[in-house]
Structures are given as C-alpha cells and as structure tokens.
Symmetry: C2
Subunit: 282 residues, 2 copies
C-alpha cells in the first residue's frame, strides 16, 4: 500500500519505520527540508517532500502534526489527494478534530494511538512504539466502514490493541486518566513551592523521594502538551477537575473531623481499585 | 557496641543486618516468639527475646515499632535499661513521638530514617536500605549532644545522609512531599471511580497508562500507612491539603477563563522547579 505521513515527529517517524518494515511504501511530508532529508537518509520513509503534492498516490494518509495544525494540514492536503484516499489522524483529543475534519473529507477515520515516550521529534522515532498499546478509533456517522476497517487493520499489524468508542467517550475517558493527572500533579508541585517558610521548603526538597517523584512526574512534563490538552479538551478536563476537587474536599473533611473509620475504608477502596486501571500494562 | 532493636520488621531487621556487619552486638525484641527465632536464625540479630530484660546491656536502643506502639514500648523498656542508655526511634512523624517520649527518658534522640520499600515485615529486611537515603535527626532542648552525636555517627556508618532540624520543621516538610501526595493520589483514584458513566469508566480503565500508574502509586499503597500519617501528622497534613486545594482552584479558574498565558507560565514553572525536589535521588 502507498501510505502518506504528514508530520515527521515521534509518532509520524515511528509509524514510518514500522509501516516500511511491514512492506508498505511510505511517503512523508514535513514543513522542514532538513527533516525530509533526515527521514529518507534514516530509511524512516521511502520518499519525503515539503510539498503536499507528494501525497497524490497515497491510499491512506496519517496526519501526525500537533492538534492545532491538523485542520490546516488537511486543507493543504485535499487538493492533491485521490478521491478514494483515507485520511486518519493521531490527535490525543477527538471532538475538536472530528468537528474540524469530518466536514472537509468524508473518508476520514479519527483515531488516537495511545503511544509516546518522554521524547519528541524525529530523533525520538523508534520501532515497536505501538506494540501492546491502546489504539482508539472514534468513528462518527459519516465514517465509511471500509475506511475504518482499513486503518484498524493497519493498527493491528502494528500489534496495537484496537478499541472503538465515540469521540465524546474518548475525550471523557482520557480527561480522567491522562489530562486530570497532569493538572493534579502540576498543582502538587506548585503548592509545595508556595510553602511560606524557606527553611521548610529547603528540607522538603532534600527529603523528597520516590513517592514525590512518581506522583509529580506528569505535572513536570512538557508544558506545551499540558496546555494543548487544557485547550482542546477543556470542558471534559474541567468536569474531571471539579469531580477531583469534590473528592479532595471529602478527604480533607474526614481528616479534619477525625473520621478514621471512613478514611480507612476509602484508603482500602483505593488500594483495591487501582489495579483495575493497570490491567493493560506490561 | 551493644545495640538493641525493639520491633523486628523491615526497618528493625534491616538495621540489625547492617549493624551486625559493622561489628556491633545486636539484641532484638519482638512481641512474637517466631519472629525472634527467625531473626536469630537469619543472623539479623545476635540474640532475641520477647522480654525487654534482654535490653539490660544495650548502650543504644532503636525503637522500630509502628508509631502507635512507640510510647508503650518505651514504658516497658525503661525498667530494664541502664541509666546511660540512649533511646532513639525511627517514626515517620516526630512531634507526637517527641511529646510522648522526651518526658519519659532524657537520653532520647528522635530521628526518622527516610528509607523503605513497598514491603513490610522481617522477610523484607535487606542490606543497604539506608545507604544514600536521608536520615533526619530532630533533637529538642533536652536532647544531650553526646547522645545525638552517637546516633548520628551510626547513621553515617550506614552511609545515610544525615540532616538536622526541629520536629515541627520535619513534620511540615514531610507533610508536603510525602503525606500530601498520598492523599492527593488517593483522591485521584477515588474521583475516577466516581465517574457516573460505566462505559466511560470501563474505557478509562482500559486506556490508563504509565502516567496514571505513576501519579496514583502512593494513593493505592498500604492503607494503614496512609491512616497513620493522617492521624499523627494531622494538622500539618490539613495545612498542606488546603494549600494544595488553593492551587488546584487556581488551575481550574485559569482553564475555565481560558487564561492560556497564565496556565502556560505556571506549567513552565512546574517543569523547571520539579528537578529541585529530586536532587537527592539516584
């Protein structure tokens, strides 16, 4: 199959490596000439160009740009595309992408491969990025079954675990387990730095250990990713943040009122339920 | 030196292993006959007994029981102790321990070795548990310098990093970086399970990945430890929880009002400040 990739970063580059190894012919488009040259030299793509006209022969095109650039990329792509070509994306929020792209191109398969590393950019591209990870498809009424089947089949060839749900369900689920943790962890770092006493803050920094490291990791990550999820999944993130604040208030009340039995029961509950969220992990 | 250990669990057992290897004679007391036999058989202690009279020749005694049992252990220990013996403890909250023990025995050195694993009990005892970890001493006015020096010297022999501060400063610092993260993480697990839609909760469980795993780890840990820190460090924990809730409210407001510049600046701030809390780690 001729497969196009627009945006040669961590996801686009890793897709290229994998799809070529599966025998597909991979065509890459990047805004930067240098990235195109590098992608060809490293055998991540068979051919690359800064011009979308390279996509004329593509049967499936993966849009792997940041979310903010997806709509513009599709607008630039469409004039060069065969009418039967499938467009799919890898955006981590689905509602705004579906709303922007579905009206532009009927043969569109909205999707979110839940894969990534701490790194970004073409240099971070690796083999096996998708193996064992969730790859979520969020078709809408206008999504053709055949197009959905084609892209899901490729996802399975990448050894990803394929799921299907609505864009709304996707955005709500990732708000809880991906976007809410980022803001909760960032608030934790931020709160500690607001400690009034410099002596205590200095000790806190010295004493912080693996518990603090793990709890705050995603809150100290790439600021652009945190901003992106807040902008594009704003309402679902606010809903989960308010739900979180309610439960935090509940914990504070129990500790203030010394309701140790209630606190103990809930800590046993969180101890028991957490493994249910980790079943998909290695 | 003759060194006593009261309470042969993870910390007491690991101390025994290490102190014997440094050439000390180690005497252990446990409530359970079986634990005493096991500790001798595994060469964790030289001698062990369920009776405190074994401590008659001890020059330093480490109280390694859970916090709730420290005062009672010291009361049982004192009738058997040489008047020059030093008592020290390993409790993870210092104010309540100092208030209970300092009036009972002047030669008392309150301390907190910040070491541990996910495991507990004598079976979890390991060599090198303290190497490179913080060992915090929180002397009060009545703590004799010579006693403090003796126990700090042993901590350095364990290759721990020795710090000194007041009990209040210790309890406030650990509230921020150790106890607050437990309740914040437990609230996060608890909030997700309150999601109203079973379909979304099911997807959330499937999609949860390393970010959710790390952010919630300490909130799904041993419920008894969470309860203990809430009971014994209650006021400092409430202060840090309220400070955390204030910052969380701030984040929610910025996202609601779409103040993206302010949100971006703060996410850059948390990205930059987090490494300052991780300098003591491997």
């Amino acid at each position: 199959m001729n497969i196009g990739i627009v945006g040669l970063g961590l996801i686009g580059g890793s897709l290229g490596l994998e799809l070529r190894s599966l025998g597909h012919r991979v065509l890459g488009v990047s805004r930067r000439e240098q990235t195109c040259e590098l992608a060809v030299a490293r055998k991540i793509v068979d051919d690359a160009d800064v011009d979308m006209s390279l996509m004329a022969t593509a049967e499936v095109v993966y849009i792997c740009t940041p979310i903010a650039a997806i709509a513009r990329a599709v607008e630039l792509l469409i004039p060069h595309l065969s009418p039967t070509a499938i467009i799919t994306d890898v955006g981590s929020v689905k509602m705004p992408v579906v709303e922007a792209i579905a009206p532009l191109w009927p043969n569109f398969v909205p999707a979110h491969p839940m894969a990534g590393t701490e790194e970004s950019g073409l240099d971070a591209a690796v083999f096996n990025l998708f193996a064992g990870r969730s790859y979520v498809f969020t078709p809408v009424e206008t999504t053709p079954f055949s197009a959905l089947d084609t892209v899901e089949e490729i996802a399975r060839a990448l050894q990803a675990k394929v799921y299907r749900c609505t864009p709304q369900e996707h955005d709500r689920a990732v708000a809880w387990i991906s976007h809410l943790p980022v803001i909760a962890a960032a608030s934790l770092i931020d709160a500690c730095t607001h400690e009034a006493s410099p002596a205590v803050l200095d000790l806190a920094k010295k004493f912080a250990s693996t518990g603090f490291r793990d709890t705050t990791r995603v809150g100290g990550g790439n600021p652009e990713l945190g901003l992106m999820m807040a902008k594009y999944n704003r309402q679902e993130l606010i809903n989960s943040l308010c739900g979180y604040r309610d439960r935090l208030d509940w914990f504070i009340t129990q500790i203030e009122q010394q309701n140790w039995d209630a606190l103990s029961a809930t800590l046993h509950h969180t101890h028991q339920t957490r493994p249910g969220f980790l079943t998909s992990q290695d």
